[in-house]
Each structure stands twice: as structure tokens, then as C-alpha cells.
């Protein structure tokens, strides 16, 4: 069985699986290309190493976008973590990754030895990945690049649930995801989405929290139109 060698970017926005040849470098002269997640160079070809959709960011950046239950930490990702242990210098946080993440006690706005935050085990934290290395445990921070707390920190009350990494990316996509847009027109609620596949929802009434959570969970396998009609039917039952 011959390996198919498509012309450059013929498979863009199509599904690829491990072993698929996505680019033939012999046909691409004097071009620099950047490879993202899910791709590797094998001699004169670029092959997929994971299943998903091949994406191209113009002019020359290729990667495979896939939806998984596990999260591989990446720098500058915003994540929702659960504190699992406290140490003198840092908190150990579960971010659904291969290893637990470190959150230094000083990685908060105005963090000094005198005002160390006290988080109990089980506390939900919205943080930013500062260091991500396959050999080391990831490091988190509750400050943005300028040193301000921004939206990061402890999330109180509300309800947290797990989703796939694909759904969390969809919720954070621009323009606004249809399900959130449709819900936002009728209900008031707060939402925090982590790229690690965790979503936190808070609303004035528990019924609103349940509706928003269910709508988000159901939206994963629906199109934009399907999401809007699903939200409408949920809100009809609520009223």
C-alpha cells in the first residue's frame, strides 16, 4: 500500500491519524515551516503523530487540533486547578496533566512572606501556566504578565465540572461560542474556562447553574444552530 503524499496543505482542515503524511518537503523549496503539536518530521515528509484535524495558521504554522480527556500543559494556558497539597514554599495543584503543578506561595499579586495565602485542600484556583516542560512539573502563577492579579485566583462558590480539551477551546474561541452567546442573552452567570478541560459556573440561583452546566456539556457534539435551539428548549422548560 503506497503512502499518499499530498501537495502542500491539501489536508488542512481535514482529519488526520497517526502515520498520515501531511506534507512532502521535496515539493516545498525555500520555505520555512513551523510544526506544532501532533506533527513530526520524518526524512522528507511531515507525519501526523496524533488523531485530529490538521490546522494551518498562515503563512506557515501547522498543527493537529484534537480533543482529549487528558491535558498536556503549555506555557500561557489558563487552567483551573484543584489544590491537593500544601508545602511551605508552594501549593501542589492538580491540573489534569501527567504531573501535579507547582503554585509558588509568592506567585500572587503583592505576594510576600508576610501575606501568604492560605488555601485548603480542595480549593479551586484559576491560574496561568508559567513553565511547562516534559521533564519538570509545570509551574503556575496567579498573576498576569504585568504582575496584576487580573482574573486569576481562588474561585469561591459555584460549580466545577470536567469536559474535554476540545470543548474548553471551543468555549474560549473568538467569536463567542454560540451556546454562551445564547445563554448570556437570557441568564446572568459567571464562567471560568480552563484550557485543561475544566469549567466553573456561578449564578445567582442553583437552577441557573444547572441549566448553564447542562447546556455546555450537551453542546460538545452540536453545531452552532443546534446549540442555539438546544439552549432555547432548555430555557423554555426553565420559565
Amino acid at each position: 500500500m503506497e503512502s499518499r503524499k499530498p501537495p502542500p496543505s491539501a489536508l488542512v482542515d481535514n482529519h488526520v491519524v497517526p502515520g498520515d503524511v501531511v506534507l512532502d518537503l521535496t515539493e516545498m523549496t525555500n520555505q520555512t515551516i513551523k510544526l506544532g503539536a501532533g506533527l513530526r518530521q520524518d526524512c522528507d515528509t511531515i507525519q501526523a503523530t496524533s488523531a485530529g484535524r490538521l490546522r494551518l495558521s498562515k503563512p506557515n504554522k501547522y498543527w493537529v487540533e484534537s480533543s482529549q480527556k487528558r491535558y498536556i500543559p503549555s506555557v500561557e494556558d489558563t487552567v483551573l486547578g484543584v489544590v491537593v497539597d500544601t508545602k511551605p514554599d508552594n501549593f501542589l495543584v492538580d491540573i489534569k496533566g501527567p504531573n501535579l503543578a507547582f503554585l509558588p506561595v509568592l506567585a500572587f499579586e503583592g505576594g510576600t512572606r508576610r501575606n501568604i495565602p492560605k488555601f485548603e485542600i480542595g480549593t479551586l484556583i484559576y491560574a496561568r501556566v508559567v513553565k511547562a516542560n516534559s521533564i519538570m512539573n509545570p509551574e503556575l502563577s496567579c498573576m498576569d504578565a504585568t504582575g496584576k492579579a487580573a482574573e486569576f485566583g481562588q474561585l469561591k462558590d459555584g460549580y466545577m465540572f470536567d469536559t474535554s480539551t476540545g470543548l474548553s477551546r471551543m468555549l474560549l474561541s473568538s467569536p463567542t461560542c454560540p451556546v454562551l452567546e445564547a445563554l448570556g442573552k437570557k441568564l446572568s452567570f459567571e464562567i471560568a474556562v480552563g484550557l485543561n478541560g475544566r469549567v466553573w459556573v456561578n449564578a445567582p440561583s442553583p437552577s441557573n447553574v444547572i441549566v448553564v452546566s447542562n447546556a455546555i456539556i450537551k453542546s460538545e457534539s452540536l453545531s452552532g444552530i443546534g446549540q442555539r435551539s438546544m439552549v432555547e428548549s432548555l430555557l423554555e422548560r426553565l420559565s
Binding site: P18, T49, Q68, K69, R70, N99, S134, G166, S221
Partner: protein
């Protein structure tokens, strides 16, 4: 009353045993003739059983797959990558932990599953060449295979199903691994044997193959084979593996389009 009840008791095991004995006698007669003979399920020698595969049956796992080839039914769950136990030494490449087990009702005689340790080791050998272990250092990926019903050619189906589950879990792989086995009966080579055929084979050959890379990750040979026959059998297996890989690709594409 009790005597009458005992007399009227129906024993499915003995009835099934008689049917099996009849089939084996028929097979023995055909083998003595050494000519072309019809297989019990109506397939020709070079026909595989109808295959059904599906991803995501186990919601708790990182990735999972279910495979059904004729009467053989297998479910594989993949967990991880997750942190290796503290007792394990540091490793700059990941670990692949494979475990094969049988349900008590998988075989006709209750609780008589094949040697699980041997199958676990063979599954590990078949998959480790395809998984990019260096992409998850200090961590372990666990592959748990459970045979729900054993109908022959169990290990090749476990390998193919495990490969699908690993891809579903998003584990980096060089290529998908598919596996097929053949049995030798006198002059004849039959592909994808059932458990009855495996019981009377002169020899067996199993190939685990990466079709896109054209690499064999495992080749297991038992019994009496001639050089020419081995070459034919390996080519037959590789061709079947390539076709099976197309099914795996379709399943993965269906799964990722459903997720969107």
C-alpha cells in the same frame, strides 16, 4: 418430585460440548483429505471475519476502544499519561504498562482464560515500537485489555484494539498498529482462525504491522512451517493489516468529527 426435576434439568454445557466434538471430527476429516474445505462460518481461507470497532466505550478512561471480530469481543482502556509511582526509578522516557485479562465467561469452559502474563508481554512488545515514549518522560501509560468473549485470534484483535484506544487517548504514535494471525493446516494457510481452527492447527503466525511506515513491530511463529509458506503467510498478514488499518482510520475520523 426432586427426581423428576433432576431428570428434566437441561445442561447447555454438554450440548455445546457435543456440537464442538462434531465440528472437530469434521475438521479432522477435512485435514486428512488435505484439500480445500469450507470453514465453519462459511469464509474462504483468505477471508477475515467481519470487523466492528468503536472508540470511547469507557467514559472514565483517557481513551478506549471496543472490537468485535466474529465471536471475539475485546474492550481496551488506556489511562494516562500519569505520574509513575515513587518506587520506580527516574526514566527520561515514558513507561508503557500493558495488562491483558479474560472475563470468567470468556471461554466455553468457565474461567479457563489463556496465559495473561504472556499475552501482556506480547501486547507490550507489539505496541512499544509504535508509541513515542520519549514524549512523556517520568510518566506511565496504562493499557488494560479485557477479553469479553474468546472466539479465536484473541491477541491480534487485542493489539489492533489497543492501538485504536491509544490513538483515542491522544498518545503520540509513529503509526497505528494492526495485527492479524494465520494458521497452517497441511498445505493450506487460513487467515483469522477461530478457536476451533486454532485447536487443530499445525502452526500459527501472527504479525503486528505499521502500514504507513511498512514496519513489523512483532512476528510470532509457532509450529511447522516451510520457508515459502512463511513468506506467503507474512505477505497475506501484511495485506490484511493494511486493510484493517483503513477501518481504524475511519473509526478515528468518525470519532473526531463527532467530537466537533
Amino acid at each position: 418430585m426432586s427426581a423428576a426435576a433432576t431428570a428434566g434439568t437441561y445442561s447447555p454445557a454438554s450440548a455445546a460440548g457435543e456440537k464442538r466434538r462434531e465440528r472437530k471430527e469434521e475438521l479432522r476429516r477435512h485435514l486428512a483429505e488435505d484439500a480445500d474445505w469450507p470453514r465453519a462460518d462459511g469464509r474462504s481461507f483468505h477471508d477475515c471475519r467481519p470487523a466492528f470497532m468503536q472508540t470511547g466505550p469507557t467514559t472514565a478512561a483517557s481513551g478506549s476502544a471496543y472490537a468485535e471480530f466474529g465471536k471475539t469481543k475485546v474492550i481496551v482502556s488506556v489511562f494516562g499519561p500519569r505520574e509513575s509511582k515513587k518506587a520506580m526509578l527516574y526514566s527520561d522516557t515514558g513507561r508503557l504498562n500493558c495488562n491483558v485479562s479474560y472475563t470468567t465467561f470468556a471461554t466455553p469452559i468457565r474461567g479457563q482464560g489463556t496465559d495473561n502474563k504472556e499475552y501482556s508481554a506480547m501486547l507490550h512488545k507489539a505496541l512499544e515500537g509504535a508509541v513515542m515514549l520519549h514524549t512523556f518522560p517520568k510518566t506511565t501509560v496504562d493499557v488494560f485489555a479485557l477479553v469479553l468473549e474468546s472466539g479465536g485470534s484473541d491477541l491480534p484483535i487485542i493489539i489492533s484494539c489497543a492501538s485504536l484506544a491509544l490513538a483515542d487517548a491522544g498518545i503520540m504514535m509513529y503509526d497505528l498498529v494492526t495485527s492479524v494471525s494465520v494458521s497452517c493446516f497441511g498445505k493450506n494457510i487460513i487467515i483469522d482462525p477461530t478457536s476451533d481452527e486454532e485447536a487443530w492447527q499445525d502452526g500459527s503466525l501472527m504479525v503486528a504491522y505499521m502500514p504507513a511506515r511498512k514496519e513489523i513491530t512483532q512476528l510470532t511463529l509457532t509450529g511447522e512451517w516451510s520457508d515459502g509458506k512463511i513468506t506467503n503467510a507474512v505477505e497475506l498478514c501484511m495485506d490484511a493489516c493494511s486493510k484493517l488499518c483503513d477501518i481504524l482510520r475511519e473509526r478515528l475520523k468518525d470519532a473526531s468529527s463527532l467530537a466537533e
